[in-house]
């Protein structure tokens, strides 16, 4: 996947390989074929004319049209994937409610995990001068129907994982809200944070950067993506 001469950990290399295999496997709400189609659409979004036009508009909701790229996905789902991939800083609660009313909260959360795990893999490939890796063929079978996680309403757009409120020495709760965000679909949490973990830690980060340097990079990305959290 990555050339041997790149200074990347074995854990990260193995994780990215596993992430691709998990993306094309059935999840609780979507089949492997549907998840693979989501990943393909997320990649197509980078070159989508409608997304480029929307990105420069004062409000993305004021621009109608069709997204580029052939797909079997329903229009609402396709639009959500393109917006999350290309213009995440301007998503709103009203937009989310319209999407969730049509596809459901659980399927939405599962889609988020697929699309954003792939964002991590593809971004690092591009950063290191590599083409995004080919997606494996989908694993056969329909949605697995695994039950929803144990969740609570906590002020997010979706119910989030129930978690203890104990504090860690990082100044954050032992389970920060961002880790709870996709708790409605435990497999979504597993896929996304399994991908994320070899990249960063809240303390004693195992990289050649200091913790402050890692936090600076993280904060700058958050600001560029206009992320509140």
């Amino acid at each position: 996947m990555y050339p041997d001469d790149l200074p990347l950990s074995e854990a990260l290399r193995n994780t990215h390989q596993k992430t691709l295999a998990k993306i094309v496997s059935p999840g609780p709400h979507w089949s492997g074929s549907e998840r693979r189609a989501m990943a393909e659409s997320a990649r197509a979004a980078e070159h989508c004319g409608l997304c480029k036009t929307r990105k420069t508009a004062l409000s993305p909701l004021g621009v109608e049209g069709h997204h580029d790229g052939a797909t079997t996905l329903a229009p609402t789902l396709l639009d959500a994937i393109h917006r999350i991939r290309t213009d995440p800083g301007r998503l709103t609660k009203r937009w989310f409610e319209a999407v969730a009313a049509e596809i459901g909260e659980g399927p939405y959360v599962e889609m988020l995990s697929v699309v954003n795990s792939l964002v991590i893999v593809d971004t690092l490939h591009r950063c290191l001068g590599q083409s995004p890796p080919a997606l494996p063929d989908p694993v056969a079978g329909g949605p697995t129907g695994e039950p929803a996680g144990d969740v609570v309403e906590a002020g997010a757009w979706v119910p989030i994982a129930r978690a203890p409120r104990d504090m860690a020495d990082t100044g954050l709760p032992v389970v920060p809200n961002i880790v709870r965000a996709m708790g409605l679909v435990p497999k979504a949490v597993e896929l996304f944070f399994g991908t994320f973990r070899p990249h960063y830690a809240l303390k004693d980060v195992k990289l050649s950067l200091s913790q402050a340097q890692a936090e600076y990079v993280a904060s700058r990305v958050s600001a560029m993506n206009e992320c509140f959290y």
């Binding site: 980078e46 964002v119 290191l128 936090e215 990079v217 560029m224 993506n225 509140f228």
Partner: protein
């Protein structure tokens, strides 16, 4: 913003406004290279980034330059999870960072502010 916590732990006073105001400096070590690598990565300026990565590898070391991109890639994904779920700040963080968020300009990214601007 955990840069604030890192500064407190190291007894350093990083200028957090540098995060939202690209022309300012936070005081983090090797900031110029980290900033350039991060910004080109998130803007998808791949040709420029290839040159910057090469130059940064000589200046600050290949591992440090690559690890900067390792972190940037992860946060390019996790910020989308936050933005697409409307996840609120953790309770203590919200209380402890109220003034800082206003000063740094992070309140402009709050979900209610975005709804007012884009809905």
């Amino acid at each position: 913003m955990l840069l604030r916590a890192s500064g407190q732990k190291e007894n350093r006073d990083y200028d957090l406004t540098a995060v939202t105001h690209g022309e300012r400096r936070s005081g983090v070590e090797q900031e110029d290279w980290l900033k350039r690598l991060t910004e080109e990565a998130i803007r998808g300026e791949w040709t420029a980034l290839a040159r910057t990565l090469d130059a940064a590898s000589h200046a600050i070391g290949r591992e440090t330059a690559v690890d900067c991109l390792v972190v940037a890639s992860a946060f390019n994904g996790i910020t989308r999870v936050a933005d697409a779920t409307g996840i609120p700040l953790d309770e203590n963080t919200e209380a402890a960072t109220k003034q800082m968020r206003a000063a740094v300009g992070l309140d402009a990214f709050a979900y209610a502010a975005k709804s007012a601007r884009f809905d």
